[in-house]
């Protein structure tokens, strides 16, 4: 039995953010221990095979983080990272197909394409899309003494430099629809972009985050080309975890943390639950404890009200979960799903894209009325992966019969806001299955009981159980609106990953800029802060964000 264990850093939660940070810290030579409560690390990036030969993706599916410095700083290729080509990533096909509306595919115009390319940084010489993405996601929020303006917001600086005609003070007032009305042409194309963004973090209708919302879309559709990592997001996660372990990180599963121990206002270690699969249940941190779990649990339970003031706790509990709770369905069918003639070439995607009114109806339903869907299924919006064997290139889909569509997403209210109680969607699973079938049968002709071999669903309520960190069962943990973005994420007092408790840092999508998705962004950004605080000294491989502004009186995380 281990006695009096000490590590430089103890990380609570083995999700993508906690483990990526572990990789960074251990690559700096620090000793790191990660404690994960589930039987498998990986948080929202998981795979499972509910019947033999059918692998499904309960949550994450696509790589958004292709532009991450982590790919080269952590050398993920060494640890087995592999992508895999897929038809959704073929942009030519995508553009030719148009956007699916109730009356069939609606063509995308030249103006749409040029406008989209321009705002995405594709028209620069050379294209500056990567700089734009990195400026949006891979840069820590500015320190409190800096006044944030249209001149120093990183992505604004990038436009100014490369595409000055896009830059304007008004850009910061807009939502994505406003922006699209300026640069794009056809309504269905605009709605499609807004929906993709809504499903990817920042919604199209939130004021002031037009560019972050846009960039969530571009990160997926253009830069990462709808890449599905080989073996799914879980194996991408594994590449990161293997990097961490190779550098000495100790990862322990089935070790739930119950308390972050605080001594004189300083976080000194953690105490695990009695059920943890180890002997001694306390681990000490010499330098810092990092919470890789959701911000509510961190302050309400792990730190506890005895160490936080009521005002802060109120703000933490007010953090909005809205904007991305997803009811996820998975279908195994005998025959591939066939699309109606009016949708030639459609391979999954989102539907129906007729008009933004449909989009707004969903906002009203999901975030306004906060109940089970009241929109008729014919107008229900959904997003899905292709209807073929999704992993058609992967021998893992080894059941002799059957085609998988997994996942299929429908937006619903976060369970704890649901007017009929958190388990309302769960009680209505059969009804929801009918709803899913009806809504998808607007496009597919053979989604019937003869064809469906099996189907599964995980509601946001299930997600909050399966994965404690996924409060609200959302993509992004907490709303990526202007009030919870950048220097205000999750609340201004916590925006730079530090907490009122010395030696306690935050590293989770719900608590940190830039929020949801497995981007390796939060840990990269947090590295700047840990260097500022003198906790680590990375080697030659490290480079900070070019837009990063050091905090006064701290060690700048830049090379001298």
């Amino acid at each position: 039995m281990n006695k009096e264990e000490k590590f430089d850093f103890v990380i609570v939660g083995g999700g993508p953010n906690g483990v990526t940070l572990a990789a960074y810290l251990s690559k700096c030579g620090a000793s790191v221990c990660v404690l994960e409560e589930r039987p498998e690390a990986g948080g929202g990036c998981e795979n499972t095979e509910p019947i033999a030969g059918v692998r499904i993706n309960p949550h994450a599916m696509f790589l958004y983080g292709g532009a991450a410095p982590g790919f080269d700083q952590l050398e993920l290729w060494r640890y087995g990272f592999r992508g895999q080509p897929n038809r959704l990533g073929d942009l030519t096909e995508d553009v030719g197909r148009g956007c699916p509306t109730t009356s069939g595919n609606y063509p995308i115009s030249d103006i749409d394409q040029m406008g989209y390319a321009k705002v995405s940084g594709l028209l620069g010489q050379p294209p500056f899309i990567r700089e734009l993405l990195r400026a949006t996601f891979w840069c820590p929020p500015h320190p409190p003494e800096v006044e944030v303006t249209a001149h120093n917001i990183p992505y604004m600086q990038v436009y100014k430099k490369h595409q000055p005609d896009v830059w304007s003070e008004e850009l910061l007032e807009m939502d994505m629809f406003d922006l699209m009305d300026e640069y794009l042409d056809t309504e269905p194309f605009k709605v499609q972009q807004a929906v993709i963004s809504w499903y990817s973090g920042a919604a199209g209708h939130w004021k002031g985050v037009a560019i972050p919302a846009w960039m969530c879309n571009v990160a997926l559709v253009i830069y990462s080309r709808m890449t599905v990592p080989r073996g799914g997001m879980h194996d991408y996660f594994h590449a990161v975890m293997r990097c961490a372990v190779a550098h000495g990180t100790v990862v322990r599963t089935c070790c739930k943390v119950e308390e972050i121990m605080i001594n004189d206002g300083v976080a000194v270690g953690v105490r695990m639950a009695d059920t943890a699969t180890c002997g001694e249940k306390k681990i000490w941190a010499k330098k810092a404890v990092i919470s890789g779990v959701d911000v509510r649990q961190t302050f309400n339970k792990l730190v506890g009200p005895q160490h936080v003031d009521r005002g802060l706790l109120q703000k933490v509990n007010d953090i909005s979960l809205k904007g991305g709770s997803i009811y996820v369905s998975h279908i195994l069918s005998r025959e591939p799903l066939k699309v109606k003639d009016k949708f030639p070439g459609m391979v999954g995607g989102c539907y129906p894209m007729d008009h933004r009114d449909i989009y707004y109806d969903h906002v009203a339903d999901v975030d306004g009325r906060k109940g089970n869907p009241s929109i008729p299924p014919e107008r229900a919006m959904w997003l899905s992966t292709p209807y073929e064997r999704f992993d058609w290139s992967d021998p893992q889909v080894s059941r002799p019969e059957g085609h998988i569509m997994s996942p299929i997403y429908h937006l619903v209210p976060p369970p704890e806001y649901h007017v009929d109680g958190p388990d309302a969607m769960n009680k209505w699973k059969d009804g929801m299955w009918d709803y899913v079938v009806k809504s998808m049968s607007e496009v597919y002709t053979n989604l019937n009981s003869d064809n469906v071999i099996a189907h599964w669903a995980n509601s946001p309520y299930d997600s909050t159980f399966r994965n404690t960190g996924l409060i609200g069962g959302t993509w992004c943990g907490t709303r990526h609106c202007d009030d919870q973005w950048g220097e205000r994420r999750p609340i201004p007092e916590l925006a730079r990953y530090r907490t009122p408790i010395d030696g306690l840092y935050l590293c989770n999508q719900t608590a940190c800029h830039p929020g949801g998705l497995f981007l390796m962004a939060i840990p990269y950004n947090l590295m700047h802060i840990m260097i500022e605080d003198g906790l680590v000294e990375p080697g030659e491989w490290w480079y900070p964000s070019p837009w990063y502004i050091p905090e006064q009186g701290k060690n700048p995380a830049k090379r001298q």
Partner: protein, 549 residues
């Protein structure tokens, strides 16, 4: 629009060609074991796994989707006391702990009576006294001998290369317990158990425990497996947090020593040149080069599918044409229920036992069931074993409570009359009916979710478990010991230069023993000239000294 033209390379991937000291095919318990020893000895190893998750038979997955995890394959770890890895690796580092309850197996009968098999002998004996004083006394005496056979010979020999039968016979003559073991070996399990015990219920428990992992009760020449498997049946341990934890721990030992693991990576071909291996090719087109390739797969996969019959030396013509896959596989019904199964029987300890056997009233029922299975059918008189997993492991429940996770498992044929597509659903109803009969609360109100796994499903998940064979090949005298998988290959190396075997189809066979993997690691390390950083366990030392010193 080709994005690469526009954006250039966006992120780097694992290269299409790489070089390694050794490549291991399959990340089951054995492949991982071999990898962990070799990586720590300084070899640059790459472990290639076809599934999206390492572990092979060590799988703890959310198959009761959503929210409930189960150990879909191995759950009972029976060699924890002997496995050298436990002393050799710092498993504490990975938070590995085992639970080895005293109440190992409970057997319940239709009349409400029950039997216990326990880790501590006297509790079993007490329970047997309910049925037969003679048997109870006989068990108490016999099991001391059998435990000694296990600790002195069978246990340590699991981790040492096989010895030709003649040599082994000579060696075992040196001690009394060795001679006893030789005698035991001549007899069939049925014969051994019925000659020592008279009560039909006691016989049923012992015969089932001895043969449940795949011994044919009437096969002679495999008798040494009776003490081996009975003592193992008293030593079942649960890896707290799930079987997969052990896989994870071994994998991390590989990684921290510079090895690489690729998942969702199927080896399609073992490359050879002039009778020597040169590396492997993956389905996705990547090539990994190495002078040493170690396969944990079954002989057909390794030699016929991956190397190719035309590349085998003459001596291996038809070597595995007659390889017998396991006579029986498993049908498992996984359940989520509000309450754990509560068995209706005279001894409350049964409800706290790790495993509960039911469906058999006497040893003839046990034999009849196996006969059916071998004939490719099942009738209503089947029996099997069940475990309530969440009773041992709260980590498996990740959904709203109350919820308990259990499974019932029974021997079943790969080819079944009527086909599994049809049979699986019917059987599920029959299993539930039978379960409810012995544990009345296992009714429809209580059960919230089920998931049936047939022998075909086992093969779909792990194609190297051909015909659902959990040991990659049957236990018959011609496929055991020095003959597993054949004389040329049973010491891990093969007639193909640089090709080694480390899986369950090699000596000492299947289950989570780590034996084949450990033995292969030793052999490869010797051949590669690596410094062995580990030493045999004290029990292995003593065995070597006593019988071969």
């Amino acid at each position: 629009m080709v994005m690469e033209d526009l954006l250039g390379k966006t992120f780097d991937e694992f290269p299409m060609q790489t070089d390694w000291d050794a490549i291991i095919i399959g990340a089951g318990p054995n492949g991982l074991m071999t990898g962990a020893y070799l990586a720590k000895a300084g070899a640059r190893v790459a472990v290639i796994e076809r599934r999206y998750e390492i572990g092979g038979g060590l799988a703890t997955e959310e198959v009761l989707f959503p929210c409930y995890y189960s150990n879909i394959h191995a759950i009972y770890h029976m060699m924890v006391d002997y496995m050298p890895a436990v002393q050799d690796f710092d498993l504490d580092r990975h938070a590995i702990t085992w639970i080895k309850p005293n109440l190992q197996t409970g057997m319940v009968f239709e009349d409400g009576s029950s039997l216990l098999m326990t880790r501590m002998v006297e509790d079993t004996v007490d329970s047997m006294h309910k049925f037969s004083h003679k048997d109870a006394v006989a068990y108490g005496r016999l099991i001391r001998h059998w435990n000694k056979m296990m600790s002195d010979i069978l246990g340590p020999a699991t981790y040492l290369p096989p010895v030709a039968s003649v040599d082994l016979m000579v060696a075992l003559q040196r001690t009394e317990i060795g001679r006893e073991l030789l005698e035991v070996n001549e007899r069939s399990p049925y014969d051994l158990i019925t000659s020592h015990f008279e009560n039909e219920k006691i016989r049923a428990l012992l015969l089932y425990s001895a043969c449940m992992w795949g011994l044919d009760p009437n096969e002679t020449g495999v008798g040494l497996f009776v003490p081996l498997l009975l003592t193992r049946a008293m030593s079942k341990a649960y890896c707290h947090g799930g079987s997969h934890k052990l896989a994870g721990a071994l994998a991390r030992e590989i990684l921290r020593n510079g090895g690489v693991i690729l998942e969702a990576a199927q080896v399609n071909k073992i490359n050879t040149q002039n009778g020597n291996v040169t590396g492997v090719e993956l389905w996705e087109g990547r090539t990994l080069n190495a002078k040493v390739v170690i396969s944990s797969l079954d002989p057909h996969s390794t030699f016929y599918d991956l190397i190719g019959k035309d590349k085998l030396p003459k001596s291996m013509d038809n070597a595995f044409e007659n390889w017998l896959y396991d006579k029986w596989s498993y049908y498992t019904l996984h359940t989520v229920s509000k309450e754990q199964p509560k068995y209706k029987c005279d001894d409350p300890w049964v409800n706290e036992s790790f495993m509960t056997v039911f469906g058999f009233e006497n040893e003839q029922d046990v034999v009849a069931h196996w006969k059916n299975v071998m004939a490719g059918k099942l009738d209503k008189k089947f029996g099997g074993h069940a475990t309530c997993e969440s009773f041992w492991d709260e980590h498996l429940v990740r959904g709203p409570k109350p919820a308990e996770i259990s499974f019932f498992q029974m021997h079943a044929p790969y080819d079944i009359e009527g086909g599994w597509d049809k049979k699986s659903g019917e059987l599920q109803e029959e299993v539930l009916a039978k379960w409810e009969k012995v544990a009345p609360n296992m009714n429809r109100d209580n059960i919230m979710m089920t998931m049936a796994e047939t022998p075909k499903d086992i093969e779909i998940r792990l194609p190297n478990m051909r015909r659902g064979g959990i040991k990659h090949g049957d236990y018959t005298p011609m496929q055991l010991g020095f003959n597993r998988p054949n004389i040329e290959c049973s010491s891990s190396n093969t007639p193909i230069g640089g090709l080694y075997l480390c899986g369950a189809s090699n000596y000492p066979g299947g289950m989570v023993t780590g034996g084949p993997g450990y033995i292969a690691a030793n052999k490869v390390a010797e051949d590669m000239g690596l410094q062995k950083w580990w030493k045999p366990t004290p029990l292995m030392d003593r065995y070597l000294k006593t019988y071969f010193g």
